[in-house]
């Protein structure tokens, strides 16, 4: 009895420092963000409660839907690209006995350590329409009129998504590789004896075993897919026109260029809901067999 009470207090005591900072800088901003999103925020006249008008405005605004679709397009390209290549490369590292695989792993992982500004500047240069390495390469292999990736409304989002996958893939790969290596090797050996080929082993045996880690990486990638900002801001600043303006960039502009804080907060909340829905979908499809 006395011990239970003591545990109650020491439990709270140890968790409290973290919970206070988390409460002030994560929980409170979420709540107050929702409240701000219900206001027409004005620094001079004071803010006025307008209910869901910011949301209805956004849902009828062409600019919002453009940003929404751009974000969606980015996520739809970047997320599978990053996860699939991360998984394939991890399988390679798992099966290979070559001494060169340490080099391969380091090379594929390294970009993840560079910050978003560095990778964006590099890729902006690689995609440069006049002297960029990629344009030069395409010309070299005989494509006489290669697309000007970052200056073309059709190509700009796929180009940024591709660069982002290059950047983010390595971390996912190491998660999968470590997950594979923590599985008992006897399972693979048994399957080999039973005559299964490598693809069957990968898809039917190993992949189900590392599903929890795949789910973790998926959630992580969904988040970085939908809240993409830095790459877009530095490579194109939303251009050409508004063809790469994503939700986070629109939020940033609403808040800190036009000072419409209420509307910006509403975009933030919509973003949250989108990420939440996609995480639920991922949980549903990837999480269902975990318990079996």
């Amino acid at each position: 009895m006395k011990k239970a009470l003591r545990d109650q207090w020491s439990g709270i005591f140890f968790a409290l420092p973290f919970m206070i900072i988390w409460g002030v800088f994560t929980l409170w901003p979420v709540i107050s963000g929702f409240i701000i999103s219900l206001h027409n925020w004005d620094p001079l006249r004071g803010s006025e409660f307008i209910g869901f008008k910011n949301y209805t405005y956004l849902f009828t605004s062409e600019r919002f839907w453009n940003a929404f679709l751009n974000t969606f397009e980015f996520a739809i390209i970047m997320i599978p690209l990053t996860l699939v290549f991360g998984l394939l490369f991890a399988f390679y590292l798992y099966f290979s006995k070559s001494k060169t695989k340490a080099f391969v792993e380091s090379a594929l992982f390294f970009p993840y350590l560079l910050n978003v500004s560095i990778i964006s500047l590099i890729w902006k240069w690689l995609f440069d329409p006049d002297f960029g390495l990629i344009i030069e390469f395409l010309k070299m292999i005989g494509i006489s009129n290669p697309p000007q990736f970052l200056n073309h409304p059709l190509w700009v989002i796929p180009a940024i998504a591709f660069a982002s996958s290059w950047w983010l893939m390595g971390y996912r790969m190491t998660i999968f590789r470590a997950a594979l290596e923590s599985q008992p090797f006897e399972i693979v050996e048994a399957a080999l004896i039973d005559g299964a080929n490598k693809w069957q082993i990968m898809l039917r045996i190993l992949f189900p075993l590392i599903r929890p880690q795949f789910l973790f990486a998926t959630v992580l990638t969904v988040i970085s897919g939908f809240d993409v900002l830095g790459q877009v801001m530095i490579m194109t600043d939303g251009g050409p026109g508004r063809s790469s303006e994503v939700l986070a960039l629109l939020l940033y502009r609403e808040a800190f260029s036009y000072f419409r804080m209420g509307r910006a907060a509403a975009i933030g909340f919509i973003l949250f809901v989108v990420i939440f829905i996609f995480t639920l979908i991922a949980l549903r499809y990837l999480g269902k067999d975990v318990s079996k």
């Binding site: 590099i122 390495l133 900002l229």
Partner: protein, 273 residues
Amino acid sequence: MRKTKNIRIFDVIMIIIAILWLIPVFWMINTAIKPTPDIFTTPPTWIPEHFTLEHIKAVVQNWPFIKWLLNSILVSGISTLISLFLAILAAYSFARITWKGRDTIFVILLASMLIPWQINAVPLYFLMNNLNLLNKLISVILPITAMPISVFLLRQFFVGIPSELEDAARIDGCNRVNTLFRIIIPVSGPALAALAIYMFIFSWNEYFWSLITLQRVEKYTLPIGLNMLQGAYDIEYGLLMAAAFLASIPVMIVFIILRRHIIEGMSWSGVTK
């Protein structure tokens, strides 16, 4: 026989992919050390014919680059230390002490990992403004010191520590604080190192929130500084690549020395379930 041959083919393919993967990094360095006329040539030169430090000098002399570097080190160092401290205490509580409400709070913490940074930007801006912390490095540091993922990862490790260790210490008269510092922390070295690496890289690369809160040039961290340089130089790729190169040198050095530890440390976050 056939099997080993297959593996070799894949090894060759993967080495080629790995080299292709590094070309962007190579191209950044290559551009940074070439004189401007050599940068804009067709076809591009793979090995610089002329070598120059003019771009690197220009960046260091014309911009408070060293200051940005120090700011970045300060922000990442301090936030890593604080977040380790907070996470150790909280993870210990969630893993090894039974108290009412614990599991509910833990689930809420986990769910909050899904909150995108953007949603917090506007309210956090007001909050920092009210606290008079805008434009101070501490305003970048504070929000990233209490990230649920750090508690989540450490908790998984703490749960796995055999309780006999703790019980023995208890019988010897150790209280909770003593047990944590004498028993739990000493056996958690690898987990703490992994978390420290994870946190350091996360805060080293933090962009969005710093962009909002840091508005004075001498307060910038590296990512924000680089972003501003591009506004100043537009398409002067020699200077931009020199700045990017300078900003990535610390990472390259650390990676070359601690390669194994960094990769292991980062992957650890996914393996704990």
